[in-house]
């Protein structure tokens, strides 16, 4: 059921490709339409963040299995400036740039699991998982 795949995020069109692949993979796993839409929307937010704030990076899409459950995890990695204060960045309304500031807090609400790991000067890694 689908090998892990790694997609580059280097330009705006790549954000569209990431969400199309997340859509296709979650559809293969028979996610409900609402679950698909939530995961794809979260992926779109985080892919854009990686591009705008992280200066580009990549998205890794992989299928997870836990007993009879199956899920999809998407991990975004960039080598940007990193996030100095993650708690503050997770707050609704937080922004450092051109975005709406809904990216992180909003994306977290759309998925079952949300992991963030950021080192100032090194980059940011965010993994989101949604279970079918």
């Amino acid at each position: 059921m689908g090998e892990p795949e790694v997609l580059p995020i280097a330009q705006e069109a790549d954000v569209v490709i990431v969400r199309q692949r997340v859509r296709a993979r979650s559809s293969e796993l028979r996610f409900s339409l609402v679950d698909q839409t939530k995961l794809v929307t979260a992926a779109s937010e985080l892919a854009r963040n990686a591009l705008i704030y992280g200066g580009g990076g990549e998205a890794r899409i992989e299928t997870l299995t836990s007993g009879a459950r199956r899920g999809l995890r998407v991990t975004f990695t960039d080598n940007g400036p990193g996030i100095p204060n993650i708690a503050e960045a997770m707050r609704d309304g937080y922004t450092t740039g051109v975005g709406l500031g809904l990216g992180l807090g909003g994306a977290k609400r759309l998925v079952n699991e949300f992991e963030i790991d950021s080192v100032v000067g090194r980059g940011t890694r965010i993994a989101i998982t949604r279970w079918a």
Binding site: E12, A13, V15, V16, R19, Q20, R23, L33, V34, Q36, T37, K38, V40, T41, S44, E45, R48, D92, G99, L100, L102, G103, G105, G106, A107, R109, L110
Partner: protein, 125 residues
Amino acid sequence: MDRIPILKMGRCLLVTIQVDMDDRLATTLQDDLTERIAATGARGVLIDISSVELVDSFIGRMLANVAAMARVLDATTVVVGMQPAVAITLVELGLELPGIRTALNVERGMRLLREALGEQTTADG
């Protein structure tokens, strides 16, 4: 495809979004619509998103911007046909789309616009 077509029908502009928009295309649509409202003196804008499978913060902001700019230019915007899964996701994401009028489908959206324009005509006259 680097532009979404805008149709003029009477005093209204109609847009049907049928592609997965990247941010640039969404921004271009926002600019094109604003220019067309000013150029044509349109009083209503109807945006059909029934084929749109995702409204994230950027696309949501584009829709809100169009509605705000149209209002400044004396036009009313109605967004029609939002899919239920998109609506559920938008609310959880925390996007409220302030100032955007919505309708379930094109027919109801056109009726809403006609009513809005009719009222304005009466008020003007």
